[in-house]
């Protein structure tokens, strides 16, 4: 039985494609974007998250951890030794308030399909379906393919939320089972892309072209995170406009305004590099919208 690693299944999602959907968040991502909204999706391994505001300082977690990986200092501040911790989740199991939460679990294809099937009626009524997101779903190609296939066998609409960063072969193998691509564009310049996401954008651009060449342009919704001071520069937007204007058949791009998730990084003891914390202004969104409309794309804010 094929298995995958996920960190959440969100039912009744309305922002991840048409209609009412179930979104499967798959764990592991080759990119490391500064503004990542789901930093718990980056590592492929299960991780502990600590919600300080829920903690009642009962120290149950300290007592139950078999590896002595948790302690509280004299100021009652909790420390998790991430080196020692193996993600067994025992502490989270015992924590009475769920201040500790283990993100990431192994799921079988069967379990996943059972979960997905629960809302078939809702998909039918609303024109929704299932969205695979993450993380980067293409990191788990075999599981993803089987899961997509299982959906198609049940006549469920599928969407893939992807960074596009994956070997061509993998993309090709899953393509027939994807009804809609939610394809992220970040930085148009290769060096900048490397700086803010950790990888080059070459493959991403090529894969987009490849998808279009396969006649799937109409099944793509581009997604553009509007990150103040990073992606919302004139240089970047114009860079994308130039790139996209050479591609045929694209129809829609959604602008995703930044919001600050520093707290999430903190809960995972991860470094948060963003210096700007506010959302982009209405004006910024407006001019970016107009830029993309200039090349004939329909632009939605929020998506």
């Amino acid at each position: 039985m094929v298995k995958g690693v996920i960190f959440d299944i969100k039912r009744y999602a309305i922002h991840d494609g048409p209609g009412i959907r179930t979104t499967v968040f798959m764990k592991g991502c080759p990119l490391n974007c500064w503004w990542c909204h789901n930093p718990e999706g980056i590592s492929p391994k299960p991780e502990l998250m600590y919600f300080e505001f829920k903690c009642i300082h009962c120290h149950t977690c300290v007592k139950v951890c078999p590896l002595n990986a948790i302690n509280f200092d004299e100021n009652e501040v909790q420390h998790i030794d991430r080196e020692k911790c193996n993600g067994c989740g025992i502490c989270a199991e015992f924590c009475p308030t769920s201040a500790l939460k283990l993100v990431g679990r192994v799921i079988t294809l069967e379990e996943l399909t059972t979960e997905v099937e629960k809302d078939i009626k809702l998909y039918d009524d609303s024109g929704g379906g299932v969205t695979f997101s993450g993380g980067e779903p293409l990191v788990q190609p075999q599981f993803l393919k089987e899961a997509l296939k299982a959906c198609k066998e049940r006549y469920i609409h599928t969407a893939l939320d992807t960074s596009g960063y994956a070997p061509r072969e993998i993309l090709k193998s899953i393509m027939p089972y994807v009804d809609l691509f939610l394809y992220d564009l970040k930085l148009a310049d290769e060096r900048e892309h490397e700086k803010y996401t950790g990888v080059s954008n070459k493959l991403i651009k090529e894969n987009l072209k490849f998808t279009i060449e396969n006649g799937r342009a109409k099944d793509i919704i581009l997604r553009f995170p509007v990150i103040p001071g990073i992606t919302d520069t004139e240089w970047n937007v114009k860079g994308w406009v130039k790139f996209l204007s050479n591609l045929r058949g694209l129809q829609e791009i959604d602008l995703l305004p930044f919001h600050d998730v520093g707290e999430k990084f903190h809960r995972l003891d991860k470094e948060y590099k963003m210096e700007v914390h506010h959302a982009p202004s209405e004006e910024t969104l407006k001019w970016i919208k107009e830029e993309f409309e200039g090349i004939g794309l329909e632009v939605k804010i929020g998506g």
Binding site: F7, D8, K10, R11, Y12, A13, I14, G19, I20, F25, N38, E40, I56, C58, T60, P96, T97, S98, K101, V103, K118, D119, K121, L122, D125, S126, H259, D260, V261, G262, E263, K264, H277, H278, G302
Partner: protein
């Protein structure tokens, strides 16, 4: 992950909240639409006038009963003569600029009292006059009158006194413990709605019917005398309302006369109104205006005869009015604008009649000025086609423009209802004053058919009061009291004893520490439920018999089929269908409690029964860890998250309780079948006060869950998950179930979301949901309103099956509404 994004450092949390509140207030303000000058003036008067008690009715009815007039007459005829006396002598207020006349009482929001049903003590009057929330002002003259005339005469004669005199001690004990309440202790039965008969019949037609029926009565019928007396009473009240209308016509003519130079337009109007009063209610209405005036006379009659629960309502109003509207437009004698203005005037008439004052337990179970008149729109026509018409849309418009406490509405959605109607109605919900609620009309039909109504009678049904399904114009579906499901678990866990008082009011079902399995606990609980249901049902029979004997309502009986035909009173079984309801409270709480015990004590063995009982006894003090686990939805199954573990328990509770209720034989007098509703009005707060700590982690005194909604704050998976959980129960075997949801205002910012919400509602109904209503409001705004009530006088929220001014609610209820989960996702 679906948790909230936390605020950015550097931008303080308070600032963000302030901004959010500001945005929300702006949105609310910008949604207020303009209305014409006449209506604006009437509305202002209606909204701003303070509520007073008017002593006129009490004075008149006391005069009547002290006089020789009732001597030697049968009780129905006495009641009818009293009604005629009232309508002959009452004052005839006319609001300046109104187009519809008639008010029970002496003026706008001047509420009459009904001492023959419940006579208020001097202490009651003091409290009503001076309480901070929801006062009823009582002037010195009224107090005098009560002290000297009203109280001395009615003490011991009022229905309330008669009831308590006749109810057995075990009933009193359970009532005092807060196991159940009694609807009829201060208000008369009613709980019904008008049907087609009202809009097709004039009083003269009905008098004809009565005459015919008298001629047909067979003197060998053992009930000949009772029937004849009832028919005589009906004939007297029919005359009475004609007298009332005639007096109004004369008054209007006098006013028109006096108007002369000042305002020729008003003069014309007054003349026209007088003409209308000379035509209706004597004859069936011919025009839109006449139809509204005709209904209103009847409404005043019904609500002046007694103080019936849920006042009265015109039922499926869009269908009743549509033929008049269509004809008026086609003949060019009516415009859409004029029809709307008339409807707006009509609307304010309801708002000018607040509920009668309620005290004691009744005050707690229904703490509101709202009198629950509910206008149904949408649904199907009697031949089964889509019932939405132009008047349905007009009413939505009027609703969104008027924003008054009363009347309430019900949007009936069937499979055939067009999306446009559903979406337009959702847009009215958006700005957030709680109206309108949504009902599953296909489900309404199934419920009615299950109860044996004909298909046509099912299709002309609707929902009145909060969410109560009934065959409009044809059924007496009497509500008898709320029933506290979690409290009975508390008594089960204490082997029959109420720990609050130490009194043994239940039966001995064993020490729960010895229970080996969840099933043993379940059996014990169900035994206790049956025990208290027995007590309640016996009480119901007594109450019903006493009302049938002492308080017939010949005027209401004129309008509900087949009272005239059967020559029987509405309160005595004259209606085509007779039903009696118990309303169960705290489904979410009881499901969570039972699931918590099953899960932690029997399945996972997290702790033992005796540990749990100790913790409950101590209100979780010293048991903080256990408390955290019990109220943590990750650690304990909670209703409302589409989790079968607990949803199955909720379903089992519903099935079992319904089965118990339906197992009782028909009632004493009306031979009514016994049925269940699931809604609380404000009773979940009162029941919470009398219930100690519960195994779901609820501390002593906190409100129970409302209606069939999940426990406040425990539904974490979005609104669709709530719909799923709720729809697992079989609501078709009940008369209705109320679901409250609170939505974050941002959801209404875009059209796409509204469409998705519409889809979800359809899915919910297809799965079997009965009703859903929304508060579109943030907890932040509500907290702000608690802090600065003076600035939020007009903030309306959805409470149960009605809306109310937030600042008028008692603190416990305000907190309960704030604690409800604010759904940010679907």
């Amino acid at each position: 992950m679906s948790e909230n994004i936390v605020s950015a450092p550097g931008c303080s949390a308070e600032k963000q909240i302030e901004k959010k509140i500001e945005k929300e207030l702006k949105r609310r303000k910008s949604s207020i639409k303009s209305i014409n000058e006449r209506v604006a003036k009437l509305r202002k008067e209606s909204v701003e006038t303070e509520v007073k008690i008017s002593s006129e009715r009490a004075k008149l009815i006391t005069e009547f009963y002290k006089s020789d007039l009732p001597k030697g007459k049968s009780i129905p005829v006495q009641r009818a003569l009293a009604f005629r006396y009232l309508l002959e002598h009452c004052s005839l207020p006319i609001e300046d600029g109104q187009l519809i006349v008639g008010l029970r009482g002496t003026g706008v929001k001047e509420v009459p009292s009904y001492p023959e049903i419940c006579v208020h003590s001097m202490a009651d009057l003091e409290i009503l006059n001076s309480r901070k929330n929801m006062p009823y002002k009582v002037d010195e003259d009224t107090k005098e009158l009560y002290k000297d005339k009203i109280i001395p005469f009615w003490k011991g004669r009022a229905m309330r006194d008669i009831l308590f005199e006749n109810l057995p001690q075990e009933w009193i004990d359970a009532y005092e413990a807060g196991i159940f309440t009694e609807f009829m202790e201060q208000r008369a039965p009613g709980h019904t709605a008008g049907g087609e008969r009202i809009f097709k019949m004039g009083i003269l037609d009905i008098k004809e019917e009565i005459k015919r029926k008298m001629g047909e009565l067979d003197s060998s019928d053992p009930e000949y005398y009772e029937k004849m007396e009832e028919l005589k009473a009906m004939d007297i009240v029919a005359d009475a309302i004609l007298i009332y209308a005639k007096r109004y016509a004369e008054e209007l003519e006098k006013m028109a006369e006096a108007e002369e130079e000042k305002d020729p337009k008003r003069k014309e109007e007054l003349k026209q109104m007088a003409e209308i009063c000379r035509w209706v209610p004597a004859h069936a209405p011919r025009t839109f205006w006449e139809a509204l005036q005709h209904y209103w006379f009847i409404h005043v009659g019904v609500t002046y005869e007694t103080n019936p629960w849920d006042s009265f309502n015109p039922g499926r109003i869009d269908q009743h009015l549509y033929p008049f509207y269509k004809k008026g437009i086609e003949e060019g004698r009516l415009t859409r604008e004029k029809a709307k203005e008339l409807l707006q005037c009509f609307w304010l008439k309801f708002n000018n009649q607040p509920a009668v004052p309620k005290v004691g337990v009744t005050g707690e179970e229904s703490f509101t000025y709202n009198d629950f008149s509910k206008l149904n729109i949408g649904g199907l026509t009697k031949d089964g086609s889509d019932g939405v018409n132009e008047v349905s849309y007009l009413i939505l418009e009027v609703l969104s423009e008027m924003r008054t406490l009363q009347p309430n509405t019900a949007v009936q959605i069937s499979n055939k209802t067009p999306d446009r109607f559903l979406i337009e109605a959702l847009k009215v919900v958006g700005p957030g004053f709680g109206e309108p609620p949504f009902f599953n009309f296909d489900g309404v039909i199934v419920k009615m058919l299950r109860q044996g109504k004909t298909l046509e009678d099912a299709r002309t049904s609707g929902c009145s009061g909060c969410v109560e399904t009934g065959a409009f114009g044809k059924e007496a579906y009497i509500l008898t009291g709320y029933f506290n499901l979690p409290k009975i678990l508390e008594i089960t866990l204490n082997n029959g004893v109420d720990p609050r008082t130490g009194k043994k009011i239940g039966i001995e079902t064993g020490d729960p520490r010895n229970f080996k399995s969840f099933d043993e606990l379940w059996d014990a609980y169900i035994k206790q439920v049956k025990h208290f249901m027995d007590i309640k049902m016996k009480g119901n029979d007594i109450v019903e018999a006493l009302y049938a004997k002492y308080l017939p309502v010949p005027f209401l009986s004129l309008w509900i089929e087949d009272c005239v035909k059967n020559a029987k009173d509405y309160n005595g079984g004259g209606a085509r269908y007779d039903t009696q309801y118990i309303h169960l409270v705290g489904l979410g709480t009881i499901a969570d409690c039972l699931a918590a015990i099953k899960y932690h004590v029997f399945d996972k063995k997290t702790f033992t029964m005796s540990q749990l009982l100790e913790a409950l006894k101590n209100n979780f003090e010293g048991y903080e860890m256990m408390w955290e686990i019990l109220r943590n939805p990750d650690k304990t199954p909670k209703f409302g998250n589409n989790d079968d573990y607990v949803d199955e328990i909720a379903k089992r509770v519903v099935d079992t309780v319904v089965e118990i209720i339906e197992s009782y034989p028909p009632t004493s007098v009306r031979k009514a079948s016994r049925r269940a509703y699931f809604f609380p009005t404000t009773c979940h707060v009162y029941f919470g006060k009398v219930t100690g700590a519960t195994p779901d982690g609820r501390k002593a005194g906190f409100p129970l869950s409302d209606g069939v909604s999940p426990v406040q704050g425990m539904d974490r998976k979005g609104i669709a998950a709530v719909f799923r959980s709720v729809a697992k129960c079989d609501w078709d075997e009940t008369g209705g179930a109320l679901l409250n949801q609170k939505l974050t205002p941002d959801l209404f910012d875009n059209e796409e979301n509204i469409k998705k919400l519409a889809q979800l509602i359809r899915t919910f109904f297809r799965l079997g949901g009965h009703h859903v209503q929304f508060n579109v409001i943030s907890a932040e705004l509500l907290r702000e309103a608690q802090r600065r009530p003076q600035d939020f006088q007009d903030l309306m929220v959805r409470v149960a099956g009605y809306s109310d001014y937030f600042v008028n609610l008692p603190k416990g209820l305000q907190d309960e509404i704030i604690a409800r989960t604010e759904q940010k996702i679907f």
